[in-house]
Each structure stands twice: as C-alpha cells, then as structure tokens.
Symmetry: C2
Subunit: 348 residues, 2 copies
DNA sequence: CTCCCTTTTGGCAGCGCTGCCAACTGCGGA
DNA sequence: TCCGCAGTTGGCAGCGCTGCCAAAAGGGAG
C-alpha cells in the first residue's frame, strides 16, 4: 500500500513526484523523446497514415521507455466518432441481460470498442435519465432493451445522432436497429405446444408485468392462443416483484391452492419455472403426469435437473453479438430476427 | 427508420441537416441563445459557483429549447478527474461478477459516476491488455478481481495514478484498496464444518483452478484443514472448463465412479454443487445420509431446492457497493473484510 | 544535375469544455 | 458622493489528441 490517496501530497517525497510524472506522460513528451513530431507519434500508434520502419521503432521505444498510455478522452474529443457503446439495461440480476452483455462485449473488445452500462431497474423514467447521461459520453451507439421507452427517451435518442439498438424484442417499431426475436411468437408457440400435448386446464405464474413488458407480451399472446382454442387460461398468479426461483415456488403454491385441477402451468421464465419444479418435487407432485411445467429462456440449469425443463431457448448471447457487429460495421437501420427454439424437455 | 447511416449524406436533404444540427449543440450555442457567457452556462449546469436566479432560468430555458446534452468527453478532458470507473472482470457468466457489478453500479449511478467494463475470461494476459485499454479512458478507479495479476498489470496500475480496487479476495497484498473476504478462510471453514458433522471420507469436484485462483485458494485451504485432521481428501475430480451445473453433475458422476465410498463432496461453487445435487436426485442417492454436498456462494436457487444447499454465502453485492463507496469517497488505501456466512442447509 | 512524383514528416488549429482571473454590478456605510 | 465588498459574470488559455495542409525527403527518369 504505497500509494497516497489522491489530493494528498507527500511533501517533498520523491515517490510522489515520480508518481505524478508517470501518471501524466503525454503524446508531446513521447514525440520529444523520440525526436519526431506529435502527428508522427499519433500516426504510428494508430497505425494510420504512412511512416518509415525506423520512425516506428523509435516511437515505440520511447512509448515503452516512458510508459505512455494514450488518452482516449482527448483522442475521442479531437476525432469525430467515439468507440464507446452504451448499454442501458433493466437489470443485472436477470441472466438475460448479462448474457447479452457477454455476447456484445466479446465482439466489442475484438474491435477495440469499449462498453459502458447502467441499470434502469425496469423503470422507464430512470431509463430516460440514464440514457441522457449516456449520451453525454457521445457513444457510437446506445443499446436498450425493447421498444417501450418514454417519449422523452425516444425523442432524445432520435435527435442524438448516435446509433440506437433495441434488443430482445421485435414486436413494435424500431427506432434504428433492432435485434432479437418476437416475444409474441414465443408466447403463441408455448401455448400451441401445450395444447398439442393435450393440456387444457392451464394456469400461469408470472412476475411484475408492468415492468417487464416483454414477459407481458408473451403472456398476452399465450392467452390469446388459448382463447382461440376455446380453452382459456384458468388461473393466474402474478407476483409483484422480480422473477426468481423462490417466487416461482411461492407462486405455484398459491396458484395450486386456488385452482386445484390444473394440468399445466406456464411460467414467465425459467427461474420461475424452476421454482415451480422444485415445489412439485418437494410436494411429490408428479411431473408431467399430474402437472406439466413450461418455462421461457432455456437456461442451462434447466437441462441439468432430473427432468429437463420444457421451455423456449432464446438467443441471448447471439443477440448481444449481432447487435455489436451491426454497430461496429455501422450497418443501415434494420430489424434482425434471431428466432428462438422450443425445447420439448420432459416437464410438459 | 428515418435515420441515415452515419457517413452517408442524403444530398441536400433538410432532414440530414437538421439531424446534424441537433447532434451538435454546444455549450457556446447555449450561451449565445441565453445571452450569457460560456462559463456562466457551465456554472449553472454544474450548479457550481454563483449565479442569479434569473440567469439560471434563462440558461435552463435555452438548454431545453435547443435540446442541449453536455459533452462529458470534453468536460472530462478539461477538468482534472473523470467520473468513469473501470471494471476488469473475469467473466459475465459467473453470477459472482454480475452481482458485484450490480452492487457497484447502483452506488455509482447515485453519485453520477459511469461504469465501464471488460471481460478477461480469466486470462491474466488479456487482463493486462484490457486494463491498459481501460487506463486510456483515465478512469477514477479500476476494479479488478483478486490479487493475481501479471507484473505488467501491477506496474501499470501502480504508475497510472488512478485508484485500484481488488475485489473478492483478501489473501494477498493489496495494491491500493481491497474489498472482499478471505477465500482461504472460506475453504477452511467449509472443511471444519464437514468434519464437525462427522464426515471423514471427503471428495472434491471443481473447475479449472489455474484460472479461477480464488477457487484454488479455497480448495487448498480446504485440503490443509482435512490434512490437519488426519483425514485427507480421498479423491478429486477437476473439470477443465468453467463451472456450470452440467459440469458439477458430470464431475460428481465421474468422481463417484472412481471413489465409491465417499460420505461428502465439496464443490468449487454452488453451480457445481447443484449439478451434484441433481445427479443424486436422478440416481436416487440419498442426501445427506448417503452423500453430503457442500457448495460455495450462497446462490438464491440453493435455498429453493427441496433440501436447502449447505454452502457459504458470500457478500457479492455488498462487495460491489462497498468498493464503489470507497472510490466515490476517495478513501485512503485499506483492506475491508466483509466476511461470509456459513449456511448449514440440509445437504450436509 | 534537374525535374517530378511519391512517401514521410511536422506545424498548428481546433474538438467542447472547465478553471482562473479580471471586470462588473449593486448596495450599504463612511 | 465615494469606497469597499460580496455576489455575478465574461474572456480566454488550455486539457491531449487528431486531421489538415504544407513542407521536406527520397528516387527514378530524362
């Protein structure tokens, strides 16, 4: 622990002085040390423009010797476009968004872009505030979840001149680029699958739909499909807070207390479905003969439980990757449907 | 989809011109529109220094009218310190790190700091490269996992003059600030617990220890404790890649094939332990009478399975929060031990 | 040896903002 | 009436880098 806290100067200390010096090597100093002009150093470091091999070596030697780290803040200000990509995501607890970040960050890193993020907690107002804060960094792109934004957010993004990518939803009008899949189709196919399997007395266990609008879209299409079949949803149990295994467990327990004769339950996602699965395990409810369970997301853990979970696998990592690729390539506005995969599993 | 892709000019298009204009409102333009000087606008917007109420209103009106969004890049360059905090984390699949990010980002957002991150995949070389890239943004702080860095990384961080926070480990020498708990203590207490419970024929299922050095520390202390008791580890199964439920399942299967008479198994973390748990469920191995299972992390899902998982709960979110608070407060170098909690559960 | 063209190089004006400092405005007290 | 002070305000020099342009340095060909 040798460092002094910032703002605290060890008076006359050699250490502090070296330290300060180290922290502030500039391009101009490198240029001087290498005996070349500033722009030459800049060209060499960015490998852009032309310069001789000898010059290159001298510059690199000086960089090495001085421990120069370029200042991207200055670089970004001086040049036109930044290499920042801003993520404004609803949550970091939900694996969906960390998967998206994971996919995107790999691609961004390869292309020397830098990811910055902030978390809205599914609050559109906070989304607007955070998006504004993000725009202040003049990112190359802003990545958001879905289409449901405040008017202010929309207007601001449109006016910002930076690319906008809306992720994980395709049921709506894109501002610029959209990458994901249709949540409505997912809900529809989930219902169709359960009907195909012969289930008719179907219930739903979900989490806060006002906030997670994508889950809301799945649910409403799910219900529409059941209605169209003449076998509407029998009962629902919606928990106020975020999705979790524990909530799924409690939700199913409450649902079954009210509706005793269900033959299948659709969960808002796999976390909830796993909770339901564990509830059945603990209570000795036979799956799927006594009760079928269907989830959404296709988490790995769903495949590792004794009976693989029936669910829909969503391309979360690929969504992040694709979004990042489009941004890096500065692709024209478009909507990309990555689809999803229904996994039959053993629970429905 | 009205926007034209960047670099493509719609010739003579009014739309494009407006667009360009919108994207580039500067402080100077606001100043002119409000009929005040630039520094006055700056003062009002940052609420710093003194100005009259009337001035404030005129400035805010102009800001509103023009849709001005301050340029933080320029602001950061002009002032001394940045409000960026850089995270260089091993993985985003491991919930540990998204929990840390979650805790930190909440605190950072409150204080108008901005989080940027990149992912090393547990590769120290990549860590060095990414840390360098991060320093180029002149962050207020760099947050890293643990103490194991390359010499290059260490040297660079020391020279950088920005705060360094090492997270989730306390067994080593901190560069500056450290926040977390002792992984060695966690391994030790896990072993002591199993011994206390009467288990003597103990095995281990883990994931790549060269890369996840914190898991390695836990494991080595675990073994030391068993050795000290005169009941050394009987068998181990170490999977080459990252931890996952599936790997835990396979690992336990292989371990039991080789060592038939184990009475307890220690897993490198809860994901792995859950895999082991599911393996036992599927094979009808009675827990804990036939085989005890012990994990690490204290994930929520471990509490929701029929028999709550015996494990150690780590303060992941609190680690992120505390780290962020220290950075925001520009606290002096220190190491903070947040401890951990042993959860007895029902599996051991 | 000169000319012309290509490659390499340096100078310097910003990028948009902040921080410093000087100047201005009132206003009460001498 | 003038002075001094606190509260306001504007001007302007950078922050460290990039992009443009002009200048210098080769390198054949004539």
């Amino acid at each position: 622990m040798l460092r002094a806290p910032k703002g605290f100067q060890m008076p006359g200390s050699k250490l502090t002085m070296e330290f300060k010096h180290q922290a502030t090597v500039t391009l101009a100093e490198v240029a001087e040390a290498a005996g070349v002009g500033e722009s030459t150093v800049s060209r060499v470091l960015r490998n852009h423009g032309s310069f001789s091999g000898r010059t290159r070596e001298r510059v690199m030697a000086a960089v090495q010797r001085l421990g120069y780290v370029p200042n991207r803040i200055a670089g970004t200000l001086a040049s036109t476009g930044s290499r920042l990509v801003a993520f404004v995501i609803p949550s970091l607890s939900n694996i969906v968004f960390s998967d998206v970040l994971r996919g995107a960050s790999a691609v961004l890193e390869e292309n020397r872009y830098q990811a910055v993020f902030s978390v809205t907690d599914y609050d559109p107002g906070k989304e607007e505030a955070l998006a504004t804060a993000m725009l202040a960094w003049r990112p190359a792109a802003v990545m958001l979840a879905g289409y449901e934004h405040t008017d202010g957010t929309t207007k601001m993004l449109r006016a910002s001149g930076c690319r906008v990518v809306e992720l994980l939803d395709l049921d709506g009008d894109a501002l610029d680029i959209a990458v994901g899949f249709s949540n409505r189709a997912a809900g529809r196919e989930s219902a169709a699958f359960l009907l195909r399997r012969g289930y008719r007395r179907i219930g739903y266990v979900g989490h806060d739909l006002n906030r997670d609008t994508r889950a809301g879209k799945r649910f409403s299409s799910f219900c529409d499909t059941l209605d169209a079949n003449g076998t509407p949803l029998i009962a629902r149990e919606i928990l106020a807070d975020a999705s979790s295994v524990e909530n799924g467990k409690q939700g199913l327990e409450r649902l079954l207390a009210r509706a005793t004769d269900l033959d299948a339950v659709y969960f808002s996602n796999d976390d909830m479905a796993l909770g339901g699965y564990f509830h059945c395990l603990a209570r000795g409810i036979a799956i799927p003969s006594q009760l079928a369970i269907f989830g959404y997301n296709g988490l790995d853990i769903g495949r590792a439980i004794p009976q693989p979970l029936s669910t829909i696998r969503t391309p979360r990592v690929a969504t992040g990757q694709t979004a990042a690729q489009l941004v890096v390539a500065n692709a024209p506005p478009q909507a990309i449907d990555l689809g999803f995969e229904l996994i039959e599993g053993a629970t429905a």
